[in-house]
């Protein structure tokens, strides 16, 4: 609640706040930096959420096979999830270093020209999505793996007996069974993507040329670098409302499609 009062004030944190009504919000709507940040956040979310879900399903299916080394594979794929996003960011800026990073070495072997990655305004955001996926796919994989193991075997057997091929079993039996998890994963990953901060802080700090400045990063800069606490709080409120609407939207959509999760 207090955040709302702050959002309606011009406040630098040192002197007392002056109430300014809705002016912070009006100003936000015309702030080109805010609009750019919103665009970056949107792009990041749109790229990150579906890919983390598709990858999660694919990797979970692969990890659900009874083959040798499966324990080893599982451990390898889950480990990055426990590494902090801050450390992941530092490690990534090493791997994607344009001068001596391993990423460019791989491209060299494939015969692709060297790239600037995080130092290029046109590539940085995409590289950040890749890094975020590396750190977060472990999570979606774990929940899908658990969900796969909960699917009754009889269901799959019955479908196979009825003559359904592997693909049709997957399409008409497995996927519908996974739907509740997918709803949850979309909500969770959307929130993760929208709130992504640590990774951006330790890779690009919003640069180059503000090309990776997201809304959360902009709020941080406003409130704690330039001391415009009231304006920052207004931006935070806006972000909260949008996230809430997005979440409710996903839940509403999934209810209409007939899955009861929440």
């Amino acid at each position: 609640m207090w955040a709302f009062f702050i959002s309606r004030a011009k406040w630098n944190g040192i002197t007392a706040g002056v109430p300014v009504g809705w002016r912070n919000y009006q100003q936000l709507a015309q702030d080109p930096d805010m609009l750019a940040a919103a665009r970056h956040t949107l792009l990041l979310t749109v790229l990150f959420v579906p890919s983390s879900i598709v990858l999660g399903i694919v990797v979970a299916i692969a990890l659900n096979q009874r083959i040798r080394l499966i324990g080893f594979y599982r451990t390898c794929i889950f480990v990055p999830y426990v590494a902090s996003a801050a450390a992941t960011g530092i490690l990534a800026s090493f791997v994607f270093n344009p001068q001596f990073g391993a990423a460019n070495d791989i491209l060299r072997h494939l015969g692709i020209p060297q790239q600037q990655f995080l130092e290029s305004p046109s590539q940085a955001l995409y590289v950040i999505v890749l890094i975020a996926l590396w750190g977060e796919v472990g999570f979606t994989t774990v929940i899908y793996l658990a969900a796969l193991q909960d699917i009754p075997k009889e269901l799959v057997e019955a479908a196979t007996m009825d003559g359904a091929g592997r693909w049709r079993v997957f399409r008409h039996v497995t996927l519908p069974e996974l739907r509740p998890v997918t709803v949850f994963a979309s909500v969770w990953q959307t929130i993760t993507a929208v709130q992504l901060f640590d990774l951006i802080y330790t890779t690009t700090r919003g640069g180059p040329l503000n090309s990776t400045q997201t809304v959360v990063y902009y709020i941080y800069e406003l409130a704690f670098q330039t001391q415009r606490l009231g304006y920052g709080a207004a931006a935070a409120y806006l972000l909260f409302v949008v996230t809430l609407l997005l979440t409710l939207g996903i839940i509403w959509y999934s209810r209409r499609r007939g899955s009861e999760v929440f």
Binding site: T75, V79, I143, Y220
Partner: protein, 274 residues
């Protein structure tokens, strides 16, 4: 089918590269921390150091406050985990078993706060902490982490799943509420407590945003903040940075390797019930 001729399952063709992709950067991080800066600055990059260099580690431990940061991180995480276990289990038990006026409303109010993101809370919390004068102390780093709505929710759901008859029997035998909770309920709650502990450990140890805001004095940084700040000033000293990274990630990675089941149960739980 082409795949039928392979002496091993075709899934290996997908899983092996994937596993390497996920784990090699971490291996490279560890090995790079033992390289000299000259060796790191070569292209193509080397994975295995030619000889063991400890300069990075020595510089990190001697020239920065890293040992202090490690201690701070351990302290902040330990306080968060212990207080989470105490506060969330008692609050969760209260919401599950004790009948009091306004219980439903209070519980909904607690759970609703899960929806409020840290970005919205950080500005008022910061101003509040500034007013009571604990900004820039270690306390500022862990006070917001003492308990969480998620933890209370998790414990309540668990206590609700326990059969109430057990506690009723204890109460009839003359056990007080508090003693019933401590000697009957808590021992049964061990799996849920472990999940809660792992969850809290992961979030408090890995948190960057809040301590970055709340703490500005170098000697009170947590490891994540220390590293992020350090990276800003010495972004070319890779062996030091990687050594710091190892320090910041290895404790949790080792814990993960030792208690993988517990961690996975936690991830699954926050995934399916959260």
């Amino acid at each position: 089918m082409l795949f039928k001729k392979l002496p091993f399952s075709p899934w290996h063709l997908l899983l092996m590269p994937l596993a390497l992709l996920f784990v090699l950067p971490l291996v490279q991080m560890l090995l790079t921390s033992f390289m000299s800066n000259a060796e790191i600055n070569q292209f193509p990059p080397k994975l295995i150091p030619t000889s063991l260099h400890l300069e990075g580690w020595r510089a990190l431990l001697a020239e920065t406050n890293a040992p202090r940061w490690l201690l701070n991180s351990i302290l902040v995480s330990a306080v968060s985990v212990v207080s989470h276990l105490i506060l969330c289990s008692t609050a969760g038990y209260g919401f599950a078993r004790l009948k009091f006026a306004g219980r439903g409303v209070a519980f909904v109010a607690v759970v609703a706060t899960v929806m409020i993101p840290i970005q919205l809370l950080m500005i008022p919390t910061y101003l509040m902490f500034a007013r009571i004068g604990i900004v820039d102390t270690l306390a500022a780093a862990f006070v917001p982490w003492l308990a969480s709505a998620f933890g209370i929710f998790l414990m309540r759901q668990f206590f609700l799943s326990l059969p109430a008859e057990l506690e009723e029997a204890a109460l009839i035998d003359g056990c007080g509420r508090w003693r019933t909770f401590r000697s009957i309920v808590l021992p049964l709650a061990r799996p849920a407590m472990a999940t809660l502990a792992v969850f809290t450990l992961l979030s408090s140890w890995n948190d960057l945003l809040w301590p970055l805001i709340a703490i500005s004095d170098d000697s009170r940084f947590t490891l994540q903040v220390g590293l992020a700040t350090f990276q800003g000033t010495r972004h070319t000293e890779w062996s030091q940075l990687m050594a710091g990274n190892v320090l910041a990630t290895m404790p949790l990675i080792l814990a993960f390797l030792l208690a993988q089941r517990r961690f996975i149960a936690t991830m699954t739980f926050s995934g399916l019930k959260g």
